[in-house]
Symmetry: C2
Subunit: 388 residues, 2 copies
């Protein structure tokens, strides 16, 4: 019995120009382009092994040890496209094993707690697509694979690259020009760091999938965002990254996050992802920049209350130190971290962060998916776990 296997890791990405709104929900085509920073897989990654064998009787996905649904239209679209590409290879070269017709066993694990409320679907779908592409030995480039991953989860297309990644919205009805490209590799601006403040939130209110379509349908301000605000932000952001201009990068990051959450608040009924803890993080970043006399930190928020704070390695002491002074006993600081900062926060801001932040994650810009010899499926086709 032959079991074919391929394993890959894939990273989380956090957008600095946000994806919010689909112009085609079926093909996952966005209303606007977006841009993200890929975060280091040392801290946040999905590991996925794709395998196929004649002994398998159905497609199976195990996610963090639990069976996960593969029958959704989006997952099926990814599987169908990947199998079609493999089948085309097999048709051209009769010596290739017929993998396209075999059932798949996919086993996937995150190295971070799901409870952290971090959007793991981007890393998950990127790893899913990359692992199967590797299993099938597809010659497809990351950009070509991004067209497939996009159909699984929009922002997943950006997790096929490391560094600084744009997802071009495209204009075609078929979505063939809606894909991810590398704006700059991690090595271009390697000192970019991110501190994630995980807000101990209750359950998430509105899923981003349904939330963004409510915004498209009901927000009176949304058209302005996609017609004017985002195109300008994309242009400024790409120039800021090219020039390694942190103050400009930071300003666009903060403005775009604000604009995105404004359109959420303008949705009817309104969607609130940020809470009082999130707002305290905004005020803390403003206080850090004011104290520094220049912009050395930038906040951004996805569809939840967690703050992601971008800063440069050389400003670690001030940026990390400000939060460390409040959150020293909070889980997640890296060993040996003991930064000092003289930034004084308003008491209400300090109190809110102290009571509302349940964990921190220290990370930075990182690489794209990596092939690995760590397998989550044994040579004889049994699921394994790294966390056992």
């Amino acid at each position: 019995m032959v079991v074919y296997r391929a394993s890959t890791t894939a990273p989380v990405n956090i957008a600095v120009v946000k994806y919010w709104g689909k112009r085609d929900p079926k093909l996952n085509l966005p209303t606007n382009s977006s841009l993200s920073v890929t975060l280091s897989q040392d801290d946040l990654r999905t590991l996925t092994t794709a395998s196929c064998s004649e002994t398998y009787t159905e497609d199976v996905l195990l996610l963090n040890g639990s069976p996960s649904d593969l029958t959704g239209a989006r997952t099926q679209a990814c599987l169908r496209e990947l199998r079609a590409l493999r089948a085309a290879l097999e048709a051209k070269d009769a010596s290739l094993p017929k993998l396209a017709q075999l059932k798949l066993l996919l086993v996937s694990e995150n190295n971070f707690p799901t409870a952290a409320g971090l959007a793991s679907s981007a890393a998950g779908f990127a790893a899913f697509v990359r692992a199967i592409a590797d299993l099938y030995e597809l010659p497809a480039s990351p950009t070509e694979l991004s067209l497939i991953a996009r159909q699984g989860s929009g922002s997943a297309c950006r997790s096929l690259f490391g560094g600084y990644v744009a997802w071009r919205a495209g204009a075609h009805v078929d979505g063939l020009d809606s894909k991810a490209v590398e704006v700059a590799p991690a090595a271009h601006w390697p000192n970019m760091r991110a501190l994630i403040l995980v807000a101990s939130a209750a359950k998430k209110g509105v899923s981003s999938t349904s939330g963004m379509q409510q915004t498209v349908a009901t927000s009176g301000l949304f058209q302005q965002r996609i017609a004017e605000v985002v195109p300008a932000n994309m242009e400024t952001m790409e120039a800021a990254i090219a020039a390694r201009d942190f103050p400009k990068f930071a300003e666009v990051t903060m403005r775009d996050s604000n604009s995105f959450h404004a359109t959420c608040a303008d949705t009817y009924p309104p969607i609130f992802y940020m809470n009082d803890v999130s707002r305290a993080a905004v005020r803390a970043v403003e206080a850090i920049n004011t104290a520094a006399g220049k912009t050395i930190a930038a906040y951004t928020f996805d569809a939840g209350p967690n703050a992601v704070i971008y800063y440069l390695e050389e400003d670690s002491e001030t940026v990390l130190g400000t939060f460390y002074a409040l959150l020293e006993s909070t889980e997640g600081w890296k060993k040996g971290t003991n930064p000092k900062s003289s930034v004084q926060l308003d008491e209400a801001v300090s109190d809110s962060l102290k009571t509302g932040v349940s964990r921190v994650i220290m990370t930075g810009v990182g690489e794209g998916p990596q092939k690995t010899d760590v397998f989550l499926v044994s040579e004889d086709g049994k699921p394994l776990s790294t966390s056992a």
Copy 2:
């Protein structure tokens, strides 16, 4: 010694289409039209006595017992215009006493605690202008006086009328077409009620005067609000009031509040007036409407965390009852109030309201400024107090 006196009351108004943004800060000309409901003076009013006498040596304003600055450009603009109108009357009729040249003593008191964080400047400036106009026996109509009051505090122009009041933005550079008009008297739709949930907030972050100009200068979404969103809201709102269509009135009220706070969140740096308590009030209103199977309550928020909830008298039981169940021990319920409601709120929403609401105010639509014989200046020109 003759002391000339006139006393008036003036109401608070709460906008359902919001004023936010000046196109001319000096003349207080707005970027967009707005529309408000005048609230009953039984619950919220300013009482102001204007007096003048040859014995006065300077213009003086006492506000809730404390001397208040009269030298600001806006106050001076109001005083200058009112005196010019009086001087014109005196020039035409030599028999009139020469009041325009006398110094003024103005004494003003609110019947509600300033700590409530309710915008009292609208009622304050409306009473200020109306009292002096009465003292001077000016023949000016409320709309003519609204041109003056507007220069003191924009939204004050709407407090010169009762009922449902529009402030037409106007287009002229001199602002002579930027004035308030009655859309409908209180008697047209007298069963409109308002419940105010006062959120025990810390100090206010950003004053509305500076906040709105930051929005105009920095929000990428604001132009859409003034060009498209507000004109449509004004039109729909006026039709809803004409037809006494509460669901439509409510929808525009909620959408416009959301739109206004969205442009605040889109300001750079962002302005947050609503907090987690405010958002809980939004969710409570949504729950009430869902339970009722129709829209019977509408939230709106000004430049602060307090919720104003509009509803109709006939829905008092359900709307008030939902909040009374949580807030029975909170200050402000009218004697004999004991409404029952079967609406169940989410626990997080209930908890947030229970801990965050410090006072309620029960009120409804009401009349405009009223001349009164209650004076806050004695016949011999000494300040009095009603609250002693």
